[in-house]
Each structure stands twice: as C-alpha cells, then as structure tokens.
Amino acid sequence: MMSLIDVERSRECVRRFQGGEKAAFDELVQMYKRQAYGFVCSLIGNAEDAADILQEGFLRAYEGLARFRGEAGFKTWFYRILINLSRDTLRRRVRSRRIFSYSLDEEDDDRAVREVADATLRPDRLAQEEEWQNILRQAVAGLPDRQREAFSLHRLQGLKIEEVARVLGCGPATVKVHIFRAVRHIGRIIGPYMREC
C-alpha cells in the first residue's frame, strides 16, 4: 500500500521532472525500484528477466513522464507499464520454450497440482525454505495473467482493491473475482504440501 507521504512525494518528483529537473527522476527510481522489482518477479515467476524489464519500465517512464498528466498517480501508471512489459516477456518465453508445461486453465487445478509436484518437488526437502518459496512462486506464475496481476498487486504489493482496479483498468468487482480465483488456485496447489509440512 502507498502512504499519503509517498503519493505526495512522487507527485512532487513528477512536477519537478516536468519542470525540467531531470534529477528528480532518480528519486522516483530510488523510491520504487525494490518494490517494483519484487512485483515484476512475482509476475514473471523468477528473477531472470526482472532487472531488464524493470530497466525498460523506468526508461519508458522517463520518456513518457513529460506527457504524463498524473490523474492516476505515478505508481499506478508505472505498474501498468511493468505489467505490459512482463506480459510481452512471458509471451516471448512461451513461444521460445514452453516452461510452464501445466495448463493455465483454472478448471485444470488438479492436473496442475500433480504436474508441479512431478516437476519440482521432493517431499523430503519440502521443509527447506527455498524449496517452499519456489513452489509458491511457481503456483503464482501458473495463474492466468489477470489473476496473477490482481493477486500480486493486492496480496503481495498491498494495494487496495480500488487501486488494483485502477492499475488493471477494470472494476473493483472484477478485481475481487480475479483475486478469489487466484487465492483458491494457490490454495489447491499448495494445499497438499501445507498439510505435509
């Protein structure tokens, strides 16, 4: 969630940047880079391309900030850029090598559970934290785009439902449905291992 101080600070940086003070952009970078990096990682499932996506996102923000009108707030606008770039990367990945062999269709949750387990899990090592995080990340990565984006923004980035709706450009009711399905999907995939832990 963004505090009012952050919102005001980012607005001030945008104003200064638009007034010709290019260094104000660096303040925005320092303010958002870590948070945004975590967000991108959760969208693409790993850290492999995250730095490139984040850099490209900041570059586009730098180039577009002069025309930015600021109705939505910098973070909303910037996260939208990151979502589009992440989608492009995932599409390219799927084309080049089909890394997620299990279906993204929510009706196939049971099959997803089996295949995630077959591909990555060794029950004897489940206690290990890294392994657990990998399962979780893979479960999030296996969500359909909209569900993953809504889930990540709300549950992992702490944005309010209304803020998520603004980022995704849809209504709050739709956001709630996406989050409901995402949480249920993750619960189904993670469930067997949580019981074992």
Partner: protein, 178 residues
C-alpha cells in the same frame, strides 16, 4: 446446493473476516451442511496463508548499484539517439509557436520602416547627441569625398600632360592607340 453460487462469492471476505456479522452467520450455517463450500473455503484459507508466506525477491546493494549505473547509461544513450526528435519538440513547444508566427510579421514591419524612414525624417526624433554625431559623420564623409575628387582630377591632369608629351615625341604612337 442451489445457494452455493451466492455463498462462494463471499468466501474470501468470510475467510478474511471482512463479512458483516449477519452475513457471516448465514454463510456459517450454509457451510455446516455443504461439504463442497467447506472444501472451497479450505482452499481459500490455505491460499491466503500461503500468500502470507510469500517472500519477495530481494537483491543486495551491489546489484542495485549496477542497476542504477546501467539504467542511467541507457537513459543517456537513448536520449542521444532521439536528439532530432527532441529538437523538433523544442521548436514546437507552445512557447516557440507564437514567436515563430510573429517572426514574418517583424520582417515585413522592418522592411516598411526602412522604406518610409527617409519620408518620415526619423532623425527628427533622434536625441540631440545622436544628431550631432550624425552631422560630424556626414561632414567627415563630405571632406573625404572632396579629397577623392581632387585626387582624381589631379591624376587626370597628369595623364593629359603625359599624353601631350608623348604626342610631341612620337605622334604616330598616339594615333595607333586611337
């Protein structure tokens, strides 16, 4: 079972404790008799718990230092590539547009003033010091002109004397020249 659809939509709020008490009680009594919704609620609770355990990717200071350096070098690189566009935007900024529009008008105005200046005798409006300076400049110019003319006349006289001398010495040479 027919009510499951309506209750399921509220399971997430119920699991997070955000459902008003009355609705929560109604849902709880439905859950007592509905194993399907109970299983669904179990999935949602596990999903919420798991998402609470999610640890975001983090990187160290070395990573971020390199990130910042790379980012700014990319920004400068791309800005350099886009210079013609930037220059174009600069010219077309709202501040320059009216200035560019006024420029031809200024040129026309200048031409008109230059043409009408002698008629209007603009020197009348000059400060006295400027008028005096102009008089001195004009006088200097006239003196220079007079000197030049005198020199020219003297040169003409010299040439005439030379021709006369040549004619006396050899009349045929002068006829040959014409």
């Amino acid at each position: 079972m027919g009510m499951c659809y309506f209750f399921r939509k509220k399971l997430l709020d119920f699991a997070e404790g955000r459902l008003p008490e009355r609705e929560a009680q109604r849902l709880a009594s439905h859950l007592d008799g509905c194993p399907v919704c109970r299983r669904e609620l179990g999935d949602i609770r596990r999903g919420l718990e798991a998402s609470g355990l999610y640890r975001p990717h983090e990187e160290g200071e070395v990573f971020w230092k390199k990130f910042d350096a790379d980012l700014w070098s990319k920004i400068y690189e791309r800005s350099a590539h886009r210079l013609p566009g930037a220059a174009r935007r600069f010219i077309l900024t709202p501040l320059w547009k009216p200035a560019l529009a006024v420029l031809p008008l200024l040129v026309i105005l200048f031409a008109v003033v230059m043409r009408t200046a002698p008629v209007l005798q603009l020197s009348r409006w000059m400060p006295e010091s400027y008028q005096e300076a102009a008089v001195v400049r004009d006088a200097a110019w006239l003196v220079e002109e007079a000197f030049d003319e005198q020199a020219l006349a003297a040169a003409d006289e010299d040439i005439t004397t030379e021709i006369e001398t040549l004619y006396l010495l050899d009349p045929s040479a002068i006829q040959g020249i014409g």
